[in-house]
Amino acid sequence: MDLALTEEQEMITGMVRRFVREEILPLELNLDPDADELPEADRRRLTEKTRAMGLYGLDIPPEFGGPEIDLITRTLIAIEASQHRAGLYAPCYGVFGGAGLAQLFEATEAQQERYLHPMLCGEKSGFFGLTEPSGGSDPARAIQTRAVRDGDDWIINGGKIFISGADRADFGLVFARTDPDQGRNGVTCFIVDTDTPGFHVRRVVHTLRSARYATELQFEDMRVPHANVLGAVNGGFAIANDRLSRQRIPYAAGCIGVAIKAHELALEYAPQRQTFGAPLSSRQAIQWMLVDNEIDIRQARWLTLEAADRAQRGDAFRKEAAMAKLVATEAGGRVVDRCMQIFGGYGVTKDFPFERWYREMRIRRIGEGPNEVQRHIIARDLLGASLR
């Protein structure tokens, strides 16, 4: 792997860095410290800018109208785009767009017409419904939502939890058990319209994140046409699993971006702040914190770029993506914690972004597969698939 950025990568990351500093950071001064949305007029204006920059819909494949930007560059962009207060969960407040539910790129033509194309032009939004109260790390066994064939339809009963965006979505991907005896080979993915009778968003699940919530869903005799099966019947596990590995790279990148921004703020502050007649930066205790931040960030960055590089080349990258997610989420947490300590009392106020990052970074060790599961994935790759 070539460790130097190409000229094009330097140019693109520089553009995104300027965009964050000149467009996003000034707006954040007037937003609630926990906000994850821009006022509509600002959102529209900035989306036009990202379109003009040729960087809108970065994760959309070129054949569907996305820009032709490789995965390593997209990872570098994700690192830049998260360097602001809301950046961990709402990088640039979504004005770079996204691919939405990438699984729909594999959908049938009719499904793409009805769901994918409206989603890509922002007319419809979707949710990803995998996790259930019985667990999310082991979907092959935890899924208890049941789908039973009835003529040309399926009848779905059950529930999901920790589902983002379901209360606002027009449709969603719902994973349900279609063969109770088959474990991972007995799960099917359905595209479900949220106005289907029997679809209920029962409650908001409040978490450490104050702005972006999850929801709990219930399905009561929800009738879904067979034409809305995504992929093959009993082939849903592969669809879910594919997303989990791929998502870990941008997930790690967001943690790195926030860690870089926190570290940058601490590097500016430490030489200015005086204690006992000398700047904080002259104290070895503080210097070592800054050194540890630098090392944490570099380790996480290289592991994440290595995972992106392997994925880009079409090599197996499950182990590398797991390492990137594991290291970046833990390193990000440590960096934010140290920066908060350097800022002292100010570090825990809402005047600075550390307290938000601290709360949100804690979730990252659990989301997209807890870090214990990442270690399990890495161990299985090192020791063999039979490891239990």
Partner: protein, 107 residues
């Protein structure tokens, strides 16, 4: 935590004794009909103590209020608006429409 706010109603003059914490609140008219659902967020000067009286000045029908102290003030605010929408079929009369407010069907 119940989805709908279930704290006791208080007269408006009790707002001066509210804590300076962050949270959500409801204003109701004499008959107890909710007229406005608001929140005291991270940029409010004195949290609920400043936000409840300020909102009451903009709602002439307001006679009483109730509050819930919470750090998850943004998500709780949206949840209360969605629950009100599910129960009453509309937002409270003094709440402006919110872009992309979700739908709940609470039990």
């Amino acid at each position: 935590m119940p989805i709908r706010l279930d704290k006791p109603w208080l007269p408006l003059d009790a707002a001066a004794d509210l804590p300076g914490q962050l949270g959500v609140f409801e204003l109701a008219d004499e008959a107890g009909r909710v007229q406005y659902i608001g929140c005291a967020g991270g940029r409010s000067r004195f949290g609920l103590r400043s936000e409840v009286p300020a909102a009451a000045q903009r709602v002439p029908e307001a006679r009483r209020f109730r509050v819930e102290v919470t750090m998850a003030y943004l998500t709780r605010h949206r949840e209360l608006l969605m629950a009100h929408g599910a129960d009453q079929g509309a937002l409270p009369p003094h709440n402006e429409p919110i872009s992309r407010l979700g739908r709940l069907s609470p039990r």
